[in-house]
């Protein structure tokens, strides 16, 4: 018969280290500020990219999959309707932080929330250009 310990000290240290690494990554990816945009990909192809506004949320439909509806705005993005059987994408709810995503595998649709690339989007005004 197989006998082994339930847990040992070096293993606890390893597990806590993995947990800490994951928590630190999660923190940096999620909570360090910047404006966000919502990106929709269908079958791996990006079909829509829009800044998430603070204003009231608007409903968007996906041209390739009209049965899937998104709500984007009010500092969040979400898949609010889909014809898929499991509804995992709808139950994911509102995405508010960088890196969060709602995925509908039956429809091959992913909605991701990402930080707007600061070098491209944080520029308010360009005064003159280098020659």
């Amino acid at each position: 018969m197989d006998t082994r310990p339930l847990i040992s000290k070096p293993e606890i240290i390893c597990i806590v280290a993995v947990l800490a690494a994951a928590a630190i990554l999660l923190f940096f990816w999620t909570f360090i500020g910047g404006r966000l945009e919502a990106v929709v990909t269908v079958d791996g192809q990006e079909t829509m990219r829009t800044t998430i506004e603070k204003k009231e949320a608007k409903i968007f439909f996906c041209e390739e999959r009209p049965s899937v509806a998104f709500s984007i705005g009010d500092n969040a993005a979400a898949i609010i309707e889909s014809d898929c059987p499991d509804q995992i994408c709808v139950r994911t709810g509102a995405l508010r932080f960088h890196g969060q995503s709602a995925v509908c595998l039956p429809n091959r649709i992913a909605l991701r929330v990402v930080k707007i690339n600061p070098s491209a989007a944080d520029t308010d005004l360009i005064i003159g250009t280098k020659k």
Binding site: L6, P106, R112, V114
Partner: protein, 171 residues
Amino acid sequence: MKKITLTGILLAMTVALAAFEHTLPPVPFFPPGAKLGLSNIVVMYGVFFCGRADAVFLAAGKAAFVFVIRGTVASLLSFCGGFLSVGIIILLVVIFGKKISYIAVSVAGALAHNIGQLAACAALLRTAGLIFYLPLLTVFGVFTGAATGLLLGFLCNALKKINLHKGSHEQ
């Protein structure tokens, strides 16, 4: 008990636990799709007591069952997660033998399951951005893995008393 009988019972339990877990409502604050992985307890038990080939068979059988009740996509995810998980568990048991604990094996198996599924998901959607989901899944994987490992430990200690494998060598 004959080994083939035991493997059959274990496969039935894997499938029943997977189906049971699928019917549970989503838990608030859990990442979508995250589950406890109760059927992995049976797969790990298979690695320890039935042999490695049987454990791989259990993972394959579970993926085949998921194909029947939930379709291609879910089955592919179960297949990728299940095989990576059982592979890592076998590797750890081969390297560390009886020194590695139930909980450590279980946590490693749960993390491997998550990584396998996420990789399959990213490949299906051709969206590398899903990697952002990995830290969150890792945090949950550690907790669910520890929970199932604890259950596995209790289960193995209880089952020692009834010695299921009595007579298996005579067959």
